[in-house]
C-alpha cells in the first residue's frame, strides 16, 4: 500500500465524441509532488484526458478523483450526477491549466491576467491579489513586464504569464497541454525552466509534451498513450531507453 493518497486518480475513464471513441479506459495515478509526463501521437486523446480532469469535458464512464474528490460529479449509489455550477467551479479552481496557445486575456495587462481570478472567484481583496500577482510574475521573471498587454509579449513570455495566472489560484495540481509546442525553438527553454522550478518546489504536475529531454530530467513518471489507451508507463529514463512496446518504440524514434 502507498503511504499517501494519490493527487490524481483515473479509473477506467471513457470518452467519446459521437461515434469516435477517444478515451477507451484510462487508468493512472499521480502521487502528490509527482511530475507525470504524457506522451503519444496526435489524436491519441492526451488533450481530451487533461480536459476531462478539470471537467472541461464530461466523461462517459469511469472516475476521475483529484485529491480524493470527484471533479464535476457527485456519486450517489453508483451513478454520477453532474454537480451544481458553483461547486464545479470551486473544484476546478484547485486545478491549474496551461494551454498550448496560452489563452491569456488580451484586454488585460499581464498583472491583471494573474490577479483577475483570485479577485473574481475567491473574492480576494484587490491589494492582496495584486501583491501575489506581482510575486508570481517575479517568479517567472516577468515583473518588469507587469503592465504589458499579451500582444506586446513574446510567446515564451506569454506562456510564463499563463503559468503565473494558473498559480495565482494556488492549485493542488497543474495540467500542461503541450505548453511549448506553439513556441519558437529559442523560446522553449525559458518556459521549461519555469516548469522545472515549479516541479522543484513540489507542485504536482501532469505534462503533455513532446520534449523528451524535459520528460527524462524532470518527470517522475512517463505514460505513453495511443488510441485512447495507456500503452506503457514507467520511470521516464527506462521507458525512453528501453521501450517494451513496439508502438512506443516507433513513436520515440520519430520524436527523438
Amino acid at each position: 500500500m502507498r503511504a499517501t493518497a494519490p493527487m490524481l486518480l483515473a479509473q477506467g475513464v471513457h470518452k467519446r465524441f459521437g461515434a469516435l471513441e477517444v478515451l477507451r479506459g484510462i487508468d493512472l495515478e499521480v502521487a502528490p509532488r509527482e511530475v507525470m509526463c504524457l506522451l503519444g501521437p496526435s489524436g491519441s486523446g492526451k488533450s481530451t484526458f487533461l480536459r476531462c480532469v478539470n471537467h472541461l469535458e464530461q466523461v462517459d464512464s469511469g472516475r476521475l478523483y483529484v485529491d480524493g474528490v470527484l471533479v464535476g460529479y457527485e456519486e450517489r449509489g453508483d451513478r454520477l450526477h453532474e454537480l451544481h455550477e458553483r461547486e464545479v467551479c470551486r473544484r476546478r479552481a484547485e486545478i491549474g491549466m496551461v494551454f498550448q496557445r496560452f489563452n491569456l486575456f488580451p484586454h488585460m495587462t499581464a498583472l491583471e491576467n494573474v490577479a483577475a481570478a483570485p479577485v473574481l472567484v475567491k473574492k480576494e481583496p484587490r491589494a492582496v491579489a495584486v501583491e501575489r500577482a506581482a510575486r508570481l510574475l517575479d517568479r517567472v521573471g516577468l515583473l518588469a513586464r507587469s503592465d504589458a498587454y499579451p500582444s506586446q509579449l513574446s510567446g515564451g513570455q506569454q506562456q510564463r504569464v499563463a503559468i503565473a495566472r494558473a498559480l495565482a489560484m494556488q492549485p493542488k495540481l497543474m495540467l500542461f497541454d503541450e505548453p511549448t509546442s506553439a513556441l519558437d525553438p529559442e523560446l522553449v527553454g525559458e518556459v521549461l525552466d519555469a516548469m522545472r522550478g515549479l516541479a522543484e518546489d513540489g507542485m504536482t504536475m501532469v505534462v503533455v509534451t513532446h520534449e523528451i529531454g524535459f520528460a527524462r530530467e524532470v518527470g517522475d513518471a512517463l505514460v505513453f498513450m495511443d488510441g485512447g489507451r495507456v500503452v506503457e508507463s514507467g520511470v521516464p529514463r527506462d521507458v525512453i531507453a528501453h521501450p517494451s512496446q513496439e508502438r512506443t518504440r516507433a513513436f520515440l524514434s520519430k520524436v527523438l
Binding site: 472541461l56 476546478r92 479552481a93 494551454f99 484586454h107 481570478a117 473574481l120 472567484v121 504589458a148 506586446q152
Partner: protein
C-alpha cells in the same frame, strides 16, 4: 501634347459643372428660402423637437442595447426553451416594419387614456392632456426600442461568437462561473466587434426616430411638419431638419471614433480611420487623435 488621363479630366469637368449648378441653385433658387431657414434654425419648436429626437434616440437605444444583450445571451444559452424564445422574438421584430410597430403601440397606448379618463380617440389626442402625449411618446420609444433590440441582439451574438473559445476555457479552468466569464472575459473582447455597428445603429436610430411622427410625437421632423403645415414653407423647413440631422450624425461619428479606439486597447494594430471626419481628425494631428501602442 496629349492629355495623360483624358477620361479623368472629363469626369472632373462634369463633377465641377454639376457642383457649380447645385451651388448656383442653392444660392439663387427662391424655394430654398435661406432667409426662412435662418429664421427657424434656432426657433423654439425646432429646438424642442431636436431635444425630443435626442431623448427618443437615447431611450430607444438604451432599451435596444439592454434587451439586445439579454436576447443574445439567451440565444446562446444551452437551454433550448430560452434560445428558442429569443429566436422567436428576433424573428418577429425583425420581420415586421418598425413603422407598423410604432403605430401598433400607439394604438394600444391610446386605449389607456380612453379607459382611464375618457378622452376620445383620434388626432385630438395630439393636442390633448399630458397623459396622451406621454403615451404616444412611450409608444414611439417602445416601437423603436423593441425593434432595435432584435437587430442589436444579432450584433451582440456575432460579437460573442467572434471571441476565441480558448478564452472561455481558460476562464473556466480558473474556476470562473458562466456569468463572470461573460461579463469579464467574453463581452469586453466582443466589444471590439460590437462597438462599430453600435455607432452605426445609433446614427441610424437618430434618423429612424423621425418615424415617431407617425405616433404624433413632436420630434424634429414632426415639429418641422407642424410648422410648414401652417406657413407652407415646406422646403426651407425640411432643410432645417436635414441640417440638424446632419450636424448630429457628424457629432456621433466623431464620438464613435474615440469609443472604438478605447475598446481596441491591447491589440497591436490601432483602429484605422474609416470615415471622413476621422481622417480629418487625424490629418489635423490633434493630440491623442491616434495613439500608437509602443512595446516598452
Amino acid at each position: 501634347m496629349p492629355l495623360r488621363h483624358p477620361w479623368r479630366w472629363v469626369a472632373t469637368v462634369v463633377v465641377l459643372v454639376l457642383a457649380a449648378m447645385l451651388v448656383h441653385s442653392l444660392v439663387t433658387d427662391a424655394t430654398y428660402g435661406w432667409g426662412v431657414v435662418g429664421q427657424y434654425m434656432l426657433s423654439g419648436p425646432i429646438l424642442r423637437g431636436l431635444l425630443l429626437t435626442l431623448e427618443l434616440t437615447g431611450a430607444a437605444m438604451a432599451i435596444g442595447i439592454a434587451l439586445g444583450v439579454t436576447l443574445a445571451i439567451l440565444r446562446l444559452s444551452p437551454n433550448p426553451l430560452l434560445s428558442g424564445a429569443s429566436w422567436l422574438y428576433i424573428w418577429f421584430f425583425r420581420g415586421t416594419p418598425v413603422l407598423v410597430q410604432i403605430v401598433f403601440w400607439y394604438n394600444i397606448s391610446a386605449l389607456y387614456p380612453h379607459v382611464g379618463i375618457g378622452i376620445p380617440f383620434g388626432p385630438v389626442l395630439v393636442h390633448g392632456s399630458a397623459n396622451s402625449i406621454v403615451s404616444s411618446l412611450v409608444a414611439a420609444i417602445l416601437g423603436l426600442g423593441l425593434n432595435e433590440a432584435a437587430y442589436y441582439a444579432e450584433i451582440v451574438r456575432a460579437g460573442i461568437l467572434s471571441v476565441d473559445t480558448g478564452q472561455t476555457e481558460a476562464a473556466q479552468s480558473l474556476g470562473m462561473p458562466r456569468v463572470v466569464i461573460m461579463r469579464k472575459v467574453v463581452l469586453p473582447q466582443a466589444m471590439r466587434v460590437i462597438v462599430p455597428p453600435t455607432g452605426n445603429e445609433t446614427i441610424s436610430m437618430l434618423k429612424t426616430s423621425s418615424l415617431a411622427s407617425a405616433a404624433a410625437v413632436a420630434e424634429l421632423f414632426y415639429s418641422a411638419q407642424l410648422i410648414y403645415a401652417r406657413n407652407y414653407e415646406t422646403i426651407p423647413l425640411l432643410v432645417v431638419a436635414s441640417l440638424w440631422y446632419l450636424a448630429l450624425t457628424t457629432l456621433l461619428t466623431i464620438g464613435q471614433h474615440y469609443i472604438e479606439r478605447y475598446y481596441a486597447r491591447g491589440s497591436v494594430p490601432s483602429v484605422p480611420p474609416r470615415t471622413f471626419p476621422e481622417l480629418l481628425l487625424r490629418s489635423l494631428g490633434r493630440p491623442g487623435a491616434r495613439r500608437r501602442e509602443v512595446p516598452s
